[in-house]
């Protein structure tokens, strides 16, 4: 039996959330009525010319920088020629030789194992309009008619192309997640797969383990979540293995992922695909990125997910919490500040990734909208470790703080949650309980430890849960020895 190895490369399109489109002044706004965010340039009226958007160039440079790319000094725009009704010029302005960013890499972790994925290139292009095919098939063939909306036409689009360095569906997903985190951390795109602002195409081939040669690949499109990308790749690997093992061969083709059926289906074969006749766009001069510009990009680089994650781990959050805090940008910041104010990292990480995340989700709000601050977290942690609050009570106080009831101490007092720290008061309660349950006391004295839990419980009940259970236990033990 041959053992197979998958070879995967990913192409990712990211729509940049700039103020205006890539080559004109139209707003980038998807909520608008169809064909309202358009002008002579993005509708490709005769005589109109493109002018590159500086904000978009800065966006792609920051992505390239975050992916450890070399930023090209003189980058060129090309025309990619093909006819399609939602492509107004019937060519897309894109890049070919000398793209803006080349030769980068990104490290991704799967189950604690790190892999370096090479980034071949990151280039700039423009999005197409949107076609809505009306008719049974939902595709252009067989449609009764097609509605075109050019609001999206010309929106800046960044394409990130990896080397074929990915070996498993899990790695592909981890790469996708990490890229998504980076793009979001840079603030250049919301990178939502379900809305199409981030799109993945996967090139997949298989080869016998140990072989250096690349097998024939298929390209899988139409995955609209990271989970479906992982599923699609896994399906495609299995399919290719089955085809080869049954004596068949893999065709160079584009396949579409069918989410409902969980299969990939053939699209057009690559051999018949368009010859794009790339040539340098004579309407656009080479884009010169000087040292000063390159430095500005580097200076503006925010803390990237990998660095954040490492920092949270270092502070004491566990792996899962560190991931969660990295993904929820503002919680991560809160975590760092609370720890800086002396809070116990583990405790705060658990609150933030548990109660706080649940509360925010339930109330559909942002942490910035609540009254929770780093110092209130630090105070709450202090009260818990100092014995003023039980772990359960602390969570209740946290809920009160989130709901805007005041600072932790006020909430604890108002809700009567502070533990009784007066030893004499608790001792009185312990004495009363022991008096009521002489048999239990007797058993203890005879060396049977069983009744202790029962007795602690009775004291807790009598104090309305405000006694420190450890203190109660210590007192009962002391009484037993008397």
């Amino acid at each position: 039996m041959t053992e197979w190895e998958a070879v995967i490369g990913l192409e990712t399109h990211v729509e940049l959330q700039t103020k205006s489109k890539m080559f004109c002044g139209c707003p980038v706004d998807f909520g608008d009525e169809p064909n309202t965010a358009v002008c002579p340039v993005c509708l490709a009226l005769p005589g109109a010319l493109p002018v590159p958007n500086r904000e978009a160039i800065e966006g792609i440079l920051s992505i390239g920088d975050a992916l450890n790319c070399t930023l090209t000094e003189d980058s060129l725009f090309y025309r990619k020629n093909y006819f399609y009704p939602d492509l107004p010029k019937n060519y897309q302005i894109s890049q070919y030789t000398f793209p803006l960013c080349v030769d980068g890499h990104l490290d991704v972790d799967v189950d604690g194992e790190s892999t370096t994925v090479g980034i071949t290139r990151v280039h700039m292009e423009e999005d197409t309009g949107k076609s809505t095919h009306v008719g049974e098939s939902g595709r252009i063939h067989g449609a009764e008619h097609t509605l075109l909306d050019f609001n999206r036409a010309g929106v800046p689009l960044v394409e990130v192309v990896t080397e074929p360095d990915i070996r498993s569906p899990e790695q592909a997903r981890a790469y996708g997640m990490e890229l998504q985190r980076i793009v979001r951390a840079l603030g250049v795109s919301d990178a939502r797969l379900e809305e199409g602002s981030m799109r993945f195409d996967a090139n997949i081939s298989i080869r016998p383990v140990g072989s250096e040669e690349l097998g024939t690949r298929s390209e899988v499109k139409n995955v609209n979540s990271l989970r479906s990308m992982q599923r699609a790749i896994a399906y495609e690997i299995t399919r290719q293995i089955e085809v080869l093992e049954s004596g068949g061969s893999i065709h160079l083709e584009t396949r579409h992922w069918d989410e409902a059926k969980g299969v990939t289906k053939p699209g057009r074969t690559k051999e018949d695909s368009a010859d794009y006749r790339y040539f340098q766009d004579p309407d656009l001069l080479p884009l010169h990125i000087d040292d000063a510009w390159r430095e500005r990009v580097r200076d503006r680089r925010p803390k990237l997910p990998a660095a954040k994650r490492a920092r949270y781990r270092e502070l004491g959050a566990d792996e899962r919490a560190a991931d969660l805090l990295t993904d929820a940008g503002d919680l991560g910041g809160l975590f760092e500040s609370a720890v800086a104010e002396g809070a116990d990292a583990r405790t705060v990480a658990i609150w933030l990734t548990g109660e706080v995340v649940a509360y925010l989700r339930r109330e559909e709000t942002e942490v910035g909208e609540t009254s929770l601050t780093a110092s209130s977290l630090a105070r709450l942690a202090e009260m818990t470790t100092g014995g003023d609050l039980s772990a359960t009570a602390a969570k209740e106080v946290l809920a009160g703080v989130l709901a805007g009831e005041g600072n932790p101490r006020d909430v604890a007092e108002a809700r009567d949650l502070l533990q009784i720290s007066d030893v004499n008061a608790i001792e009185a309660e312990v004495d009363a309980v022991l008096e009521q349950h002489p048999q239990a006391l007797e058993k203890l004295r005879e060396g049977d430890p069983k009744p202790i839990g029962f007795l602690v419980g009775q004291v807790m009940r009598a104090t309305g849960g405000k006694a420190d259970p450890r203190m109660v236990q210590d007192l009962i033990r002391k009484k037993t020895q008397e």
Partner: protein, 492 residues
């Protein structure tokens, strides 16, 4: 001067300011001239009667207020590949029939801002592809010197209108000679500025790296004045020049003493009409007599200019014209699928020359052919540019005939595209180099057809180019007028 339509722009501008006549009178004269000559020439595709009337009336009000803008109230014509808001713009193609643009191109807007009165839109070879204006979907234009002959092209309508007086000046576009060659064939002055000096925003693209808007006029100072109204950086065109604009008209009266003038040796010989060569040589002698130093210059790479041009221009046009497919504007011919609709629209909408060039360009860019054709042409382009750079290290300007022949008979070259392409042999190299060049009339051949003389200058060398052109104009003193403009049919 008995008819205002025969005035130069300079004369008309002076007359308006001296209150000898007003802008509406001037427009009336030009429209009257058009009413008589259009039946013979077909220089115009559209006359914007309402827009021009409004502009002339507005100019008259401004003139009363002492408004100093030099083009205020001057009736001019625009080639129909310049986008004009609300006025049908077709580039002489069926595929754009009826298209009324929602915006003005930058040059058009600057002319409106200068107070010019836009009389109408002139005929051209479809999408500016041709050298005779016969490739218009709306019928050819004719030459006012002899209506059996072509006015040249592709800006033939603009050239014919200026020559006959149905506009005092005009704008055309020049991709391989499309302003200079028709200027030569109609006895007018036509200038192609340095690439990037005039914004291309709103010029319907033929070949983006070669196209330039430029003026046609009856005199060199008029051409300079027109050009000055439209030059300068435009944020809508990244290929427009961002630096200081040359002092185009500063040295018109300086003469040529001390200038070094290079005669391009490759642009003489048997392929050139002998009377054209004679007129060219005579002009060079006069320049020499006037104090210029004349030297011969060889530009070896110029031999390949035509071949390189007919790969680069079609390649660019194959992409530039892809936007015409019936989806968003212009002609749509229905089909049972989207692809069929697009294919039918393009098959019916484009004429044969446009189709030929799209096919040529598509082929030249195709996988496996790119390097042998388009890539090679770009390398030749670099060689040509280098040849010019070397030459301008030795001389201030280069000169040659503008066209190898005078105006030819309508239909005489339409069957053989290569013969037609040869009409641009003298003009194409400067487009490839991106340099400015101007054509000035220097005489008539024995059949009474005008001969043009071309002056080329290094990039941004418009000042010296216009300086030499103005001197040629003075030395030659070309005062002949086309038959159609002087015959009794147009006499007031």
């Amino acid at each position: 001067m008995s008819d205002l339509a025969d005035l130069t722009i300079a004369q008309a501008s002076a007359g308006l300011r001296a209150r000898e006549f007003n802008a509406v009178d001037l427009l009336d004269a030009v429209e009257r001239r058009a009413a008589i000559t259009e039946a013979h020439l077909h220089a115009y595709l559209t006359l914007d009667r309402e827009g021009s009337r409004n502009a002339a009336e507005a100019a008259d009000i401004a003139l009363v207020g002492g408004d100093p803008r030099p083009l205020l109230g001057i009736p001019i014509a625009l080639k129909d590949n310049m986008v004009t808001k609300g006025v049908e713009t077709t580039a002489s193609s069926q595929i754009l029939a009826g298209w009324k643009p929602p915006y003005d191109g930058t040059a058009v807007r600057r002319l409106k801002d200068a107070g010019a009165v836009i009389v109408g839109k002139t005929n051209l070879d479809e999408f500016a592809m041709g050298s005779s204006t016969e490739n218009s979907a709306y019928g050819p234009s004719r030459n006012p010197w002899n209506t059996d002959t072509v006015p040249g092209g592709s800006s033939g309508g603009s050239a014919a209108a200026v020559a006959v007086g149905s506009a005092l000046g005009a704008f055309g576009s020049d991709t391989g000679g499309s302003i200079r060659q028709p200027a030569s064939l109609t006895g007018t002055v036509g200038a192609k500025p340095t690439y990037g000096l005039v914004s291309r925003y709103g010029l319907i693209a033929f070949a983006s790296s070669l196209d330039q808007i430029g003026p046609l006029a009856r005199t060199v100072p008029d051409a300079a004045m027109l050009l000055e109204a439209v030059v300068g950086w435009d944020r809508m065109d990244t290929t427009s020049y961002h630096g200081d604009v040359p002092a185009i008209s500063r040295s018109l009266d300086v003469g040529v003493t001390g200038l070094r003038i290079g005669v391009i040796t490759e642009l003489t010989g048997e392929a050139f009409d002998s009377q054209v060569t004679e007129a060219t040589n005579a002009t060079i002698d006069r320049l020499s007599d006037a104090g210029a130093e004349v030297v011969e210059i060889s530009l070896p790479a110029i031999e390949y200019a035509l071949s390189a041009y007919y790969l680069i221009a079609p390649a660019e046009c194959s992409a530039n014209l892809a936007r015409f497919e019936g989806v968003r504007y212009g002609l749509r011919v229905d089909g049972s699928t989207t692809e069929e609709m697009m294919a039918r629209t393009r098959a019916e909408g484009f004429g044969p020359e446009v189709t030929r060039r799209i096919l040529l360009g598509t082929y030249a860019l195709s996988a496996g052919y790119y390097d042998a054709f388009y890539g090679q042409a770009q390398r030749v382009r670099t060689l040509i540019r280098d040849d010019f750079t070397t030459a301008y290290g030795r001389v201030d300007v280069l000169v040659s005939p503008t066209s190898p022949t005078t105006a030819f008979e309508i239909g005489s070259k339409t069957e053989d595209p290569l013969t037609m392409y040869f009409a641009d042999i003298c003009t194409i190299a400067t487009n490839l180099a991106g340099d400015p060049a101007i054509s000035v009339p220097v005489g008539l051949d024995d059949r009474g057809r005008p001969i043009g003389f071309q002056i080329m200058a290094p990039a941004l060398g418009e000042e010296v180019m216009f300086r030499v052109a103005a001197e040629v104009e003075r030395l030659v003193d070309f005062t002949a007028r086309p038959r159609l403009a002087t015959s009794e049919v147009v006499a007031p």
